[in-house]
Point group: C2
Chain length 121, copies 2
Amino acid sequence: MKDEFICKENCPHYKIISQVKLTCPNGNAIIDLADMFKIFADSTRLKIICAILKQELCVCDISELLNLNQTTVSHQLKVLRDSKLVKYRREGKQIFYSLKDEHVIQIISAGLSHISEEEEK
Amino acid sequence: MKDEFICKENCPHYKIISQVKLTCPNGNAIIDLADMFKIFADSTRLKIICAILKQELCVCDISELLNLNQTTVSHQLKVLRDSKLVKYRREGKQIFYSLKDEHVIQIISAGLSHISEEEEK
DNA sequence: GTAACATATGCATATATATGCATATGAGAT
DNA sequence: ATCTCATATGCATATATATGCATATGTTAC
């Protein structure tokens, strides 16, 4: 990628750019943030999250409720476990999942309020 | 997908399930929400968003600042335009992009506060 | 008009990932 | 120990999407 032909002298506003560089989150934080949003970027996972938003449910309940294959639910629950968004407890043969903290609710409601405002326009 | 062999009589907690069905966002809202989070789920787009968080920048500035190919930046700006998260204005040959509203900042800071709390643990 | 520049877009490709089948694991009941 | 049930996991596959090259579009200057 040659940078000579890209508006080197004319265009870039160097003073602004150096200011922005200071205030931007650093590269790792950005990647962590993107990884976190990836978790919410799948409708199946979002449905699961919403299902356990207010109470714990076992895997089978979630499958039944959302009309999803048990395998699919387990796969996505693993993703949610790995990203530490859910906790779980065993009770006999069943495993009950629930949300780990309140941040999830904040993130989702921030998203929902954006969506709903878009619809008004 | 046969539903007979899935814990039909033993497991599902039908009363809870019917309650949850009432409180869950409906399918379309979930899909819209997932689509919105998809936008934030890519580090290149997040970088671009952060770059224009506080002031407008032209495409060339963004490429320069983030050390990204101009084509890549244009592609991702198109995604952001299509999802109505950014606005833009032309000034001569250059086009300046900026954020469209405050929701973006709320969503990102909700995400950031989750990230930073995770690190403390 | 043409040349130069800033940005956008079509196409091809590489990479990620969501899903489902088959099967493994782990727990209770007999 | 064996059977059944609830859940998890390995593997294969289909789909989505991020990127870059080549090129098109739109603007200014001459």
